[in-house]
Symmetry: C2
Subunit: 257 residues, 2 copies
């Protein structure tokens, strides 16, 4: 009877330890889930900015001389391809890291433990043994799941970083190959058509006239001087866009895209 | 005189073309600057989330059995090291991409063009030639600067992605090396001290008693059932944190950390 009393006491300790273990896993898996979800959302926001960059590089390229234009468009294409991989990264992290942690933190795995605990409690003669098995399974499965989830995280991230290295290697060559001298020729010939150029030489030789006007040059300088107020306006727009973006982000706490 | 008139007309066209080229560069470099700055800020936000992840992995590890604990702490260490590289990425992008574009979009480069244009306009006899040179220099320098800025961007990103691959390779091994069987032994022996285990065998053999209580098990089940409301609470906190974070982000439009 003394032995049984001590057995019951130990049994209570055991149950308390199990309760603690279960609620500890629940707490930390829940928190890990939230932070991983935040990490995925920030990755999606980075992809959004990169998409804007692709758009702006293309818009700028459209206004430029042929070789620079072609180089920038090719670069934007590669950078856009990298964003497709970032998008895949976002989806994979969502499916292989956030979702498994979410089901862990809430129902599936613990529900199973729960029903096993209930089943164990029905048959008091077999309780201790059943409990041992249930907890063994729970612990073993938990460690396996952590290993799987973290390995998936690492694999998904590595896949993305590997693709990034590959794409940037090509992109670097594209930028290096932009030929400034070739473009300069194009720019010059657009400013000074050949027939005008030859006439200009005649004028230079004959007249050395002081009549060339300078007022349109002055208005060119005004354009330059408004630049800093222009930039400030851009920043305001950017802030508004950020606010809108973050509002969307709050709406879509669970969904990524 | 007819020739000179056509010369002046062409000269006006030239000046207009130059004005357009200058304000076009100003506009697009300003926009590129804003979006790159946004890209850098989002990278910094991703680093913040990763820092939180490091903290939480360490907090969870502290509650775990030795082998899992050691593995998670080592992983968190590697992941934290990667965030140091991400921090370096943020600083480098700020210094080598955003800042050069900012000075381009506003003052430095165009101010120089401005003063050269002014100087050119003072000496009317040399105007055309000076203008050609100024614009040549501006165009040439612009293409060179674009190549430099984009090359820096690619280099900085590649450096980070390369480090990420290196660190994740180590991190993957750390996770794989977590030994679930070793930890299971530790967990079992913490639940069932050896002296209790041997006594339990005696009890089992002698009594097959139905007295083992089940009420503490029920309270264990209650712990399990509150899990979904707990997770919801966590999400609310996360949203608040996001809002605070984004307010900070808006305050620090220009500064990254």
């Amino acid at each position: 009877m003394m032995l049984l009393g001590r057995g019951l006491e130990a049994r209570d300790n055991q149950t308390r330890q199990i309760q603690d273990a279960v609620s500890n896993v629940e707490k930390h898996f829940g928190e890990l889930c939230q932070i991983f979800a935040g990490y995925v959302r920030k990755t999606a926001r980075l992809r959004d900015k990169a998409d804007l960059l692709v758009k702006e590089i293309n818009a700028y390229a459209a206004t430029e001389t042929p070789d620079l234009k072609a180089g920038l468009i090719k670069f934007a294409g590669e950078f856009s391809r990298l964003q497709d991989y970032r998008q895949a990264e976002v989806h994979r992290l969502e499916a292989k890291v956030v979702e498994p942690l979410k089901s862990y933190g809430t129902i599936v795995k613990l529900k199973r433990a729960e029903s096993e605990l209930q089943r164990a409690s029905l048959d008091a003669t077999r309780t201790t043994q059943q409990l041992e098995e249930t907890i063994d399974n729970f612990e073993k499965q938990k460690i396996k799941d952590i290993k799987t989830i973290f390995s998936e995280f690492i694999n998904i991230e590595m896949l993305f970083h590997g693709k990034a290295l590959e794409i940037y290697t090509d992109a670097y060559q594209i930028i290096q190959n932009i030929d400034e001298d070739k473009d300069l020729e194009v720019f010059r010939s657009s400013l000074y058509p050949p027939d005008y150029q030859s006439r200009l030489d005649i004028i230079r030789a004959k007249s050395r006239s002081p009549l060339l006007r300078t007022d349109s040059l002055k208005s060119s300088l005004r354009t330059v001087q408004i630049s800093s107020s222009m930039l400030r306006k851009n920043e305001d727009e950017e802030e508004e866009e950020d606010e809108e973006e973050e509002e969307e982000e709050l709406d879509a706490t669970k969904e990524v895209r």
